[in-house]
């Protein structure tokens, strides 16, 4: 398994921007984004129990502009709250791929960092950042609501300064992530989303987007069929 820490690869060739006000616009967008975050909290593990206190009256994360959201397609942040069993990890990856960019992943709890209490368990995936580009970890077993909120504040700062764009890494080094996923789930692993197509669409197609793992994916991939609707 490839073990290196995700580092954003060099920018792929992007169309040159000629507008002199482009970066002003970017800053404005980043500011707006950082102030209105919708969070999808996938309750994967025990850390989820500290989220209701963080969201409700006592700690109240809504004052930071962060609100829970129920569908992945409208969410900006994916909170992974605790250990991820292999069965859950498949759902998390599918959820993540459905979210619209820009998107951010936060790993709450030590279990997402290195396996935590369950380092020797046969049923859990140990390091979340091998499978998804994680923006921020909030360590602790379990982190207190204050820690969760300060972590989210850190994320807000990062987004405001344009430093939190690990989601691009998923497109630029898709082969790496896909390889780790295949290692865990077997060679038949596929999701009904088209990450490579999206990478082209966003202009994030990098030299490491394609590789041996995506070739394997292509050889086993079943073409997507439209759902049969009957009434």
């Amino acid at each position: 398994m490839i073990k290196d820490i995700p580092i954003i690869a060099e920018q792929a060739q992007q169309p040159r921007r000629t507008n002199p006000l482009a970066h002003v616009f970017d800053e404005l967008m980043n500011f707006a984004r950082s102030r209105s975050l919708f969070m999808l909290h996938y309750c994967t593990g025990c850390g989820a129990i500290e989220l209701p206190p963080a969201m409700t009256s006592r700690f109240d994360m809504e004052r930071l502009g962060i609100q829970p959201m129920v569908t992945p397609r409208q969410a900006d942040i994916l909170l992974v709250t605790g250990y991820v069993s292999i069965k859950t990890l498949k759902r998390i990856i599918l959820t993540y791929e459905q979210m619209g960019s820009p998107k951010h992943v936060i790993g709450i709890c030590s279990c997402t960092v290195n396996g935590g209490m369950y380092w020797q368990s046969y049923a859990t995936a140990k390091k979340l950042d091998e499978y998804l580009p994680v923006d921020l970890y909030i360590a602790g077993c379990m982190p207190r609501p204050e820690a969760v909120i300060s972590g989210l504040q850190k994320l807000i700062d990062n987004i405001k300064h344009g430093k939190s764009d690990n989601w691009k890494d998923y497109y630029q080094r898709y082969d790496h992530y896909l390889g780790n996923q295949q290692h865990l789930f077997g060679n038949n692993w596929q999701t009904p989303t088209d990450v490579i197509g999206e990478a082209r669409e966003y202009g994030l197609f990098g030299p490491q987007t394609l590789g041996q793992h995506t070739e394997l994916l292509e050889s086993v991939q079943k073409p997507l069929q439209p759902l049969e609707m009957k009434l």
């Binding site: 025990c46 129990i49 209701p52």
Partner: protein, 380 residues
């Protein structure tokens, strides 16, 4: 169209469709899923789909020392972790022949009941949210936090305490702690009328919960239902009374029951239990200052502790139902086998499947919350 002209269409079977309810769904408790087959919004068939939280606890415990497992067991049931530590400790004490000092037993009772209060407040919040009343959720979670503060002062942890070890408890109560418990209980009692107005007698809730997810006493016994859910069918069965552990036989309390066996009855039983728990903790506060002595008995070096060979079964009543541990030792420094009997593995699988079938889609979440099942304990 006039109502007398209206004829309901009998849908052909092709109108049945399958819906994945969960695992990432706001109406489901934790990381758990149900596959429901629907006809319109009537549930025809339901299958529980667990395993999202499986960690292989029973296997992990075989690989760790007796004392290390204390840190592992509370993770089995997250909203109500104290009974897990307690049942495991009781089983190991029985194996090792340890005599727990009286003072530690009273402290344990206090901790168990505080945990029950916290868990019930959390459940009310979740249950109210499934019927669209979010204020109760905000109140319940905020009031639960006061109890977590008490735990934090006593044990150092908000949710996971790791406070009970075989032989007693880890440390004595801090100065003035009992006064703070009293004032928190006073506060909760003064809030109960508000909760009644907001939730328990609210017609939105009463109308939706009456008759939803009804089970008879006979069914409940056949399906292995325990705890408040069983008491809601009219059976006065409580491990605290029938097979007393710790010092519950010296404590005066009533067993809350209801007759109807539906979601409403189950919630009312919990509401009554809240008051009984307050009563129990008040008795502990009265008795504790007059009981001196140590808070734990001497145990061998915990890192090289060979618990004598044998098997032990310890059961206690948690806020979710009956929790039991079956522990086997072969005289080594690690357990040979630990089996956890959690109440939710019955409530969230066969009971839920049966109660949901025939009901309506919008009641699925409510039934699940009214059973107060705890998914991490189903999957373990």
């Amino acid at each position: 169209m006039r109502p007398e002209n209206y004829q309901a269409i009998n849908h052909p079977p092709s109108h049945e469709y399958e819906l994945n309810f969960g695992p990432n769904h706001p109406g489901i408790e934790g990381n758990y899923a149900l596959k429901v087959k629907l006809q319109g919004d009537q549930v025809v068939e339901a299958h529980a789909d667990g395993g999202y939280l499986h960690r292989g606890f029973e296997k992990l415990m075989e690989g760790r020392l007796w004392i290390q497992n204390i840190a592992l067991v509370p993770r089995i049931c997250v909203p109500d972790p104290v009974p897990m530590e307690m049942a495991y400790s009781l089983a190991v004490e029985e194996l090792g022949g340890l005599e727990v000092p009286i003072r530690a037993q009273w402290i344990r009772v206090m901790q168990l009941e505080l945990s029950r209060i916290a868990a019930h407040l959390f459940t009310f919040g979740g249950h109210a949210a499934t019927t669209g009343m979010y204020t109760t959720m905000y109140w319940g979670v905020a009031d639960r936090d006061l109890f977590l503060d008490l735990f934090e002062e006593l044990t150092g942890g908000r949710v996971y305490h790791i406070y009970n070890i075989p032989g007693g408890v880890r440390r004595d109560i801090p100065d003035g702690y009992l006064d703070r418990v009293t004032s928190t209980l006073d506060y909760l009692e003064s809030r109960l009328p508000d909760y009644d107005n907001l939730f328990f007698t609210n017609q939105v809730f009463v109308k939706r919960a009456t008759g939803t997810g009804t089970m008879t006493q006979q069914q409940a016994l056949e399906w292995g239902v325990t705890g408040p859910n069983l008491r809601a069918t009219g059976l006065k069965l409580d491990v605290r009374r029938d097979d007393p552990y710790l010092v519950y036989d010296e404590i005066d309390f009533d067993i809350a029951t209801e007759e109807a066996g539906d979601a409403w009855a189950r919630t009312l039983v919990r509401r009554k239990e809240l008051q009984q728990s307050i009563r129990i903790v008040r008795q502990v506060i009265e008795r504790l200052p007059s009981i001196g002595g140590p808070i734990r008995c001497p145990i061998p070096n915990p890192l090289a502790w060979n618990v004598p060979a044998g098997e032990a079964y310890a059961r206690i009543d948690s806020s979710k139902g009956e929790v039991a541990y079956y522990v086997v030792s072969t005289g080594g420094d690690k357990p040979y086998r630990v089996h956890v009997r959690g109440p939710s593995s019955m409530h969230a699988v066969q009971v839920l499947e049966n109660l949901v079938t025939g009901g309506r889609l919008e009641d699925v979440a409510q039934i699940m919350f009214s059973l107060d099942a705890c998914p991490p304990e189903v999957d373990r």
